[in-house]
Symmetry: C2
Subunit: 332 residues, 2 copies
């Protein structure tokens, strides 16, 4: 049973939600109707010690900030702004109080940074290890909400920032090899990601985006979700995937190719979105000062996500299906 099959199991028995449930299971957030003009967005994410983070080298203040950031990224992906956070914190018997104080400090600093308030929660004991579940409620003007399911054949596919840094950073941290200047930068992508809240708000406000989501499990998997929900396929070009200088140099030193990191690496918390061709200039103007935006391919009416060699322009380049090649918690 993989992650999608588990989600389907619960989705099948979700039951009717009434008029106030605009969108249930299957997008970055659930969407609830608040009043005529505003929608509420609800997202839940769990981070588990030794699965999502290593307490030996993840500084507690950065972990507190990351717990908020990964949820804020889901709110941002739907065009919204975070408002309220709810923490369910599991701690083992004999946890370290100074660790908890630094974690709490990072979490509350992040709430202030992203404009939300810690409004409730729950504290429980675990058998082993720290477990962090954060629920975030955000809001979005009803005419600006962006879904995964509304990509159209012919759309151009865009990503923000660069891809693969967090996965490479995690690999370096795990190997105890993140000491170089490049290594520290990559590690920071894993330890302390920043969701693209401002950029997402500008994109949603500009109403040029057809479909949007955040990149948490690698573009191969996340774009597959977007395509399935939209009833489309996609082609992306290997040479268009944006890769950072630190990742290129690190891969070079290790004698590795950047592509697997960029294609399947999780936890980038960048934006993945589609827009009609011909809107590129307007989109780049909207994104001004918000960092790099790159077109990586296009949506089509076939099925699956296909990786084409090279870059556009070449006649019938070799393609291979890379659907769901990214991170899956339950695939061996």
């Amino acid at each position: 049973m993989n992650e999608r099959e588990i989600i389907s199991l619960f989705n099948g028995s979700a039951g009717p939600g009434g008029d106030e449930l605009v969108r249930g299971i299957g997008d970055d957030c659930a969407v609830l109707r608040l009043d005529g003009d505003r929608l509420w967005l609800v997202t839940v994410d769990t981070l588990i010690e030794s699965v999502h983070f290593n307490i030996d080298w993840h500084p507690p203040r950065k972990l507190g900030r990351k717990s908020v950031a990964v949820n804020v990224s889901d709110i941002a992906a739907m065009g919204g702004s975070p408002r309220f956070a709810f923490l369910s914190l599991g701690l083992p018997q004999g946890f370290d109080p100074p660790w908890l104080e630094k974690f709490s400090q990072g979490l509350s600093e992040a709430c202030r940074e992203f404009g939300c308030t810690l409004a409730g929660g729950d504290t429980v004991r675990t058998v082993e290890g720290v477990m962090i579940t954060l629920t975030v409620i955000g809001e979005v003007p009803a005419d600006q909400v962006t879904y995964r399911s509304t990509a159209l054949p012919g759309d151009e596919i865009w990503v923000s920032g660069t891809l693969g840094n967090a996965a490479a950073g995690l690999e370096l941290c795990t190997a105890g090899d993140a000491g170089s200047e490049d290594g520290l930068l990559l590690a920071e992508s894993h330890l302390n990601p920043t969701p693209r809240l401002g950029l997402a708000r500008r994109l949603a406000g500009g109403r040029l985006v057809h479909a949007m989501m955040d990149l948490s499990d690698g573009v191969a998997t996340d774009l597959s979700h977007l395509c399935i929900r939209s009833g489309t396929g996609a082609v992306i070009y290997a040479d268009l995937l944006p890769v950072s200088g630190p990742l290129q140099r690190t891969a070079g030193k290790m004698g590795k190719d950047c592509l697997p990191w960029a294609l399947t690496g999780g936890e980038d918390y960048e934006l993945l979105f589609t827009a009609a061709p011909g809107q590129g200039g307007a989109i780049l103007r909207l994104a001004e000062k918000e960092g790099l935006l790159t077109r990586i391919g296009y949506i089509d009416a076939k099925s699956g996500v296909r990786l084409a060699e090279g870059r556009p322009g070449r006649q019938n380049p070799p393609q291979k299906d890379v659907s769901f090649l990214g991170y899956d918690h339950f695939r061996l």
Copy 2:
């Protein structure tokens, strides 16, 4: 560091919530302003294998229902009705798919039973064991919300149902000794609790209740929370604590006293509330057909929760402070 100190740590850094946060950390739910007439209630609860449940004898369908029930109990305690549920489910590598199907069935049956919709969530891998975090959003008419913090000196203290069944049931299950008719009934209180949703709605709608909360950590601890939030103290009478026939008979067979179970046993998910003296008749009429209600003592202007021997009427009965004698996850 105990549970209250951990909560204080996060409470201290929660930050301002704006006009829409009516009540933050410290009650059964956070309270958000939805529109003029309605408030939203948000609660989060986590159940962890080998801490909150034993997967060897907790049937998965009952565990699915209980995951919803414990959150619905928090919504009920504030006078509300559950609307939306969000599940964060942690599963170990190699979990049993038929187990998950039954769990999912119990969860969705409970959503239907209590009138809420599973609207989203998250699935993650754990290092070991199952971990269930449910966030439930409910609603309540703004003039019917009931808080912990509004008890008044002179109020009578009421509880619904009987106390201590779930704790005794857990003890029997753990010892593999729940096979008798009484044992099965007590075990059911632990395995498959039913929140007092209908009763709580009638009490809140009748507007006779001053303060209300649910009983999750034992009346000694829960009444201590209510008193601290209300700036009051309380006296409860040992002989007034309602105890079920099965618990009395089981305690008798074991040569034990019922009182420790009734006073400190967790997970009853009954209601604890206060009301002005003289409202007893009206309250009992409201609760008609909703089961037993019992007055167990009174609120005063002193501090702490004191247990008096016997029942009211005796001059200066011996008292002892039982504040926070109930369940605390982090006290050894």
